[in-house]
Symmetry: C2
Subunit: 217 residues, 2 copies
DNA sequence: GTAAAATGTTAGAATAGACTAACAAAATTT
DNA sequence: AAATTTTGTTAGTCTATTCTAACATTTTAC
């Protein structure tokens, strides 16, 4: 049995591993908003449950069992987000918080029904891949907008931040997944970008925003 | 702030108060499957939070605040059950367990959206009233089938047990809410009833079943 | 290649929620 | 009304999850 708390640790480990490759206790505790010793003792506990490989002073790793467990929680999270947007009419900026809670519901049937009603989606409303029933996730390698050049024309494929604050910022600029973006200029001083898309022309996006936007050619 | 555990105590207090008028610690602990001292100390805690009136050796009562809080949890539970049945295609026997978890989700918006999508229903799939946004519940006084007589023709309005086991039993007999029941005979020995409805004739229901069926004339 | 800084670990304490054992009060029986 | 049974309370323990303070190791800087 994995507690709600343990589930949150596993999820954090998986997403930090994605971003960084390796995970250390400092990053984990910062990500979860807890103190380092708390994270540390939980790692020992998860190691006993064979969900984490823990060796003193070494980076943390999820075991296969841990990866699968974490993947299945993320699956529930993303199916929920998709359901909330597609079937209940929420905006993509509203669903992260709610999904954060619903992902801990213990009912296979509930999430299978969602999956079925949604027609077995592969991506959530923020463009993130939905893991399969074995917790396996296709890790698509998009580029951040930051890495593009003047003149490039790309499509917005995903965002790496699902906070309401960030997504409201994008809403205000009518910037949606799938949008075709043309890069007009890059300010060398602060790396801010001037782009054009849909009805909007000459929108300026700071580097902080650009690095959260994943694009495809 | 009310914890998930506290919410479950409040819900138990409200439903026991409905059944019995007064609530004592023994019934409460049995209902929740915990030991008496555990319930007792939680009652003191809820009394400090002004949710329960607690006096040594006296029956337990919810305060107005406690009733409202409990009513709002039941509202979330029943809206969820209705949503699961009406919008997601679950059977009425599948939804209690799932709703038991979803009722603890903290998001006004989530339940308001359900309510809206459902068209502001007044009853859940088991015929129980859905409390309003102030946690107030209309307490409709149905009769149990047990109290009817031979020759009576009544309609099944609600069931007082939402367990999968009981509802599967009714499913197997195609006994649904709204069904028009005619009482053909009552066995004086064990109070079992022979009834006819819809396509079914001469179904025999034990007193144990009959007392869980609420009917209107 | 030490010294300083960053990171990780251990030990001990707090809170929530559950338990058992022992005791106290109230209700019921005879 | 005394004895018995049921019900309620108190005290102390346990586990999960968190914390702070102190200490240890590793990494980085000079």
């Amino acid at each position: 049995m994995v507690s709600l708390t343990e589930e949150n640790y596993l999820k954090a480990l998986l997403s930090l591993a994605k971003e960084k490759g390796e995970v250390n206790v400092t990053d984990l505790s910062k990500h979860l908003g807890i103190k380092m010793p708390t994270a540390n003792s939980m790692m020992k506990k998860l190691a006993e449950k064979k969900l984490v490989v823990y060796e003193s002073y070494k980076p943390l790793r999820l075991t296969e069992k841990g990866k699968k467990t974490a993947g299945l929680i993320i699956r529930k999270h993303r199916l929920t987000e998709m359901f909330l947007v597609d079937k209940m009419g929420f905006g993509w900026e509203q669903v992260h918080e709610i999904a954060e809670q619903i992902e801990h519901i213990h009912s296979q049937d509930f999430f299978e029904k969602m999956d079925e009603l949604l027609g077995y989606p592969k991506f959530d409303p923020h463009g993130s891949p939905i893991p399969d029933k074995n917790g396996k996730m296709e890790w698509i390698s998009y580029q951040t907008l930051t890495h593009c050049n003047v003149g490039d024309v790309v499509h917005l494929a995903a965002v790496t931040n699902s906070s309401a604050e960030f997504l409201k910022f994008l809403n205000a600029r009518e910037l949606k997944l799938g949008a075709r973006l043309r890069i007009l200029a890059i300010e060398s001083f602060d790396k801010s970008m001037t782009i054009t898309y849909d009805g909007r022309s000459d929108e300026v996006l700071s580097a902080l925003v650009c690095e959260k936007l994943l694009v495809t050619l």
